[in-house]
Symmetry: C2
Subunit: 338 residues, 2 copies
């Protein structure tokens, strides 16, 4: 895949690299290269299909036109959707996207951030972070353009696009209560994320507002690295020991797998146990029963994140924005309303 270089053109036309460079960057007139020479260069470049080496260009300009996307897992529909939006918008402004999945491991995330910086990305969109304070702080202090998505660093002032986690879950729990459920369990994932903690807070708040006492036994933390087994155990306990009549799941994948378990155990949803998912996924409406969810604008989140980032990159702006997206209940049969 050898392609010609500026130098090749220069030699072939008996000119200097400089002149060729000017012309290839459409600065020929500005740099008063004769019309004739410009044509010769363009002609030659065209027929020999010259394509500038972006690596060299980036190195020289100190700008790579790459943005890094760091997510827990690119194959998760939520992150994949965000990735698509980011890519779409970024591309319009001439940026490419490198991505990496952390698997929710802070060590990997730390490495990935460094690796992206080494590659001289112009900015980062980080949809992750579990206790990665130091890295984030370093980015912030280095004045490096980045945006955090779906997570709130209470004590670091950064660009953030996040969710009303707490209120979202509260609305879910209240919905179940309003539908007559008395013993509502909460299944969350054991990740040290503020967002995840906020969801638990939302659960507690709902109980409080409805004057129900909080019972630790019906709150289960599922292990991220072994969702299947861990969730199974949690579910069986909630259903058999605790006799819950409703469950709110803190993430879409927990809800999906939870429903699967309930069905395998021949537990009727919503008759015996009503359920609500925080986060929707494609096909939720086709499930048996259709899954009620706390929905949020994923596409808008992606768009906003990349807007913030590109703004920061292009305008060297140091202002930081906190954008919190509202959630909305999408009521289907699984919650017992219909």
């Amino acid at each position: 895949m050898k392609s010609i270089s500026l130098k090749d053109i220069a030699i072939a036309l008996n000119l200097s690299k400089t002149t060729v460079s000017y012309v290839m960057n459409d600065r020929g007139d500005e740099k008063r290269v004769s019309k004739e020479t410009q044509d010769r260069i363009k002609q030659y470049a065209q027929t020999h299909s010259y394509k500038p080496n972006q690596l060299a260009r980036s190195l020289s300009l100190g700008k790579s036109n790459m943005i890094g996307l760091i997510v827990p897992n690119i194959s998760d529909s939520f992150f994949a959707q965000i990735a698509r939006r980011i890519e779409k918008k970024a591309e319009k402004l001439g940026y490419n996207v490198v991505f990496s999945s952390t698997g929710e491991s802070p060590e990997r995330e730390s490495k990935i951030i460094q690796s992206m910086l080494d590659r001289q990305v112009d900015g980062l969109i980080i949809v992750s972070s579990e206790k990665n304070h130091d890295d984030i702080l370093k980015l912030k202090e280095g004045n490096f353009p980045f945006v955090i998505v779906g997570r709130k660093y209470a004590d670091i002032e950064t660009n953030v696009v996040a969710l009303e986690d707490k209120d979202g879950v509260t609305s879910a729990v209240e919905l179940l209560i309003d539908n007559g459920r008395k013993h509502i369990g909460f299944i969350t994932i054991s990740l040290e994320l503020d967002s995840i903690k906020d969801r638990l807070k939302g659960y507690k708040q709902a109980l409080k507002s409805k004057d129900i006492t909080y019972n630790t036994n019906v709150v289960k933390h599922v292990t991220y690295n072994d969702v299947e087994a861990s969730l199974k155990e949690a579910m069986l306990e909630l259903v058999h020991q605790e006799k819950v009549d409703g469950i709110v799941f803190a993430t879409h994948y927990l809800a999906e797998e939870g429903l699967r378990l309930l069905k395998h155990n021949n537990i009727n949803v919503p008759e015996e146990v009503a359920i609500v998912s925080f986060g929707k996924d494609r096909g939720f409406d086709l499930f048996d029963p259709p899954l009620t969810s706390v929905d949020f604008p994923i596409i808008e989140m992606g768009d906003t994140a990349v807007d913030l980032l590109l703004d920061a990159i292009e305008n060297q702006v140091v202002t930081t924005k906190n954008i919190i997206m509202k959630t909305k209940l999408d009521i289907k049969q699984s919650c017992g309303s219909i």
Copy 2:
């Protein structure tokens, strides 16, 4: 985000860039740099957290350690899953992944390929291509490492990881016929892909083997850029005009949306119309009714693709491999078997 350079270290320690470079690449002994000097350099690099600029490194070495992933749409679960596998394997060997979605547009794909080459990616995984013969041929002739996934270029000898599209669909149609269905429709997507054409062939073959005459009216081609409306029209025709009692969908998203339409129109699945999807997606087993699908090993496809690519990159191998994955019926209620 300024970080120090080789030169900075060299100056600080009163050495040459060369010596520092050798040491940083662990070639100190080989290049017989004194133990003492090595220590000084390592020490300094450590405390000043020196990180080589990968752009410069890549330029110099003529190797970027980046691989490009080109898919129709990264937010489609199929491609997202493949992306994850590719990333995982690539990372182990020190590669990063840049991705871009083509939206099934050959023009965009062409541009994207060029853009990736300009960025000096070391190899490409292309899960796409609609009539992009020229580009693929150019890559091939330029001896550039690349792998095509999910598509077969009959006339270009390349690394390919694809599916038994034809047999897969045949098995689906035969299943419906064996379940007593007489009028089976086929809904496919109007893309000029050999894989898609093969799926239609599979449909025809099944009819032939069961001595059913082929009826053009029950084969519908849905517009890629307007699936929703186009599919709706197709479905209504099949169901109301043609009175089909079975439908095979050429892709998972057609099947999902098809089922949605059937339900919205209160058509019982599988009693009135039995359906099968080519390709499975998460949650298909939870649908009402659970969706029968022609399943294939996505993860293995991703793994194989990246193995082939990395082999081609690292070993400069020019051999090409054609790997065709087998499909397998995953029988659930939607086909009327159970």
